[in-house]
């Protein structure tokens, strides 16, 4: 396949599908055309599901190679990862996701580990806040005050200490925060439009070429 075909074919497909999807959204078209758009959405969902499988294959390959190479200090953990990757699909295919064993395994291993690691966020965040929320400059002081007000608004103890804390915290969330995030969203939306434009016309080649520009 020539280099031209390799690059221009995916770009052309991207343009046709993308342009068609935009057209269907804005232009009042017959129902047969909108149904075609729904079908395309279904195809996209299937492709994404395949991509998830691809990620699993890459992972299995990487860790199998580590085990085969007996990489010092790593190959034992790679075996654990391989077992972890394979055990759930095996259980799913043999006894099904609604079986007692599958559910128990999930809730006692996967869910517990996930929740525990996420719980570490508290300690990491507090450690980080403790080090950075120092009122050395005005913006540091404002950051600290805002954080404290929002915390006192969320925690019932804030209202118990002083009824003004929830009011101030709510004001902070409802006005400055909302205003700032609306501004960020509008700017991000135009950024997304720019990227959409570049992708449709093939200027954003990252997903097409193997590397470089």
């Amino acid at each position: 396949m020539s280099q031209l075909t390799k690059k221009s074919t995916p770009v052309m497909i991207t343009f046709i599908i993308g342009f068609f999807t935009i057209l269907v959204y804005f232009i009042a078209l017959p129902s047969s055309v909108t149904e075609a758009s729904s079908t395309l959405n279904g195809w996209a969902t299937t492709i994404v599901a395949l991509a998830i499988g691809f990620g699993t294959i890459v992972l299995l390959r990487t860790h199998t190679m580590r085990v085969m190479q007996r990489r010092k200090g790593e190959w034992v953990y790679s075996i654990v990862i391989i077992i972890g990757i394979l055990i759930f699909p095996l259980l799913y295919l043999t006894i099904g996701p609604n079986s007692y064993l599958y559910k128990t395994f999930y809730s006692t291993v996967n869910a517990t580990i996930g929740a525990s690691i996420y719980g570490l966020v508290l300690f990491t965040l507090v450690g980080g806040m403790y080090r950075t929320f120092r009122a050395k400059r005005l913006n540091g002081l404002l950051l600290m005050i805002s954080a404290c007000l929002v915390m006192l608004q969320i925690a019932p103890i804030g209202d118990a200490i002083w009824s003004g804390f929830p009011i101030l915290g709510s004001w902070l969330m409802d006005y400055p925060t909302v205003g700032v995030y609306r501004g960020i969203m509008i700017a991000s939306a135009f950024g997304a439009l720019a990227i959409c434009f570049r992708t449709l016309l093939g200027y954003e080649g990252g997903h097409v070429s193997g590397g470089g520009e």
């Binding site: 996420y118 450690g127 980080g128 960020i184 509008i186 991000s188 439009l193 570049r198 200027y203």
Partner: protein, 258 residues
Amino acid sequence: MAIIVEGRIIGFIILVATFATFYYLIDQVKKGRQIRLRRLPAIDGIDEIVGRAVELGRPVFFTNGGTGSLSGVLAPQLLAGVRFGTYLAKKCAELDAKLIAVDCHPDVLPLLVGNFDDAYKFHGKQVPPETILYIPQGYSYTLGCGSLITRERAAGTVMVGPFQHEAVFVAEAGLEAGALQVAGTARSSQIAYFAALVDFPLIGEDIYAGAAYLSEIPEQLGTIYGEDPFKLASIIISLLAFISYNLNIPWLLNLLTI
């Protein structure tokens, strides 16, 4: 019979106007028009990080986010992260700084490998082995990044891309290691963490503007520059809408919803 779906006319007009502006400006840049984008402090931060790494003999850490894929809505952020990573790789190749890059996206990995390869070849060098590491998405990625930064005592970290909750972990690990940090994401919920914890934050749109600045590609420069008039128009429309709402003159608000 209406051609455009009711309630989407203004959206259609904005879309057409934006695309026309982008096309015009890209064309202008290709014809030689000079467009100056502001050099972001974070880019100077990257230069500082690499210099610091060489002085201290410690590595630089790079990652482009723990979520998303090239097929999803977060793809632009991933690509922006790759551009920052490529710039960092070029700098590291130039000054012989050790670079550790972690990626958790199977579809982005070949892109990163290719770009790093080109970056090192630009300085007549090869990408050292074990520069780019693949750690799968999820907690393994979060903890892997954190432990790499702490264990290797990174002199600096560059983290640009779509981050989820791993943002706070990884930024805090950098803080603990005493690293100089450049970080940015357009995922609004994580911006606050980066703004609080890193030395050179990139907020939202900054990552796209920075990527355009670094790439110097006419298409990117043209579109970034083309966004500005529409942002200005958004500010003016917001002010007018505020005034019209408070004076109880709903014409503008009604106009925006046709």
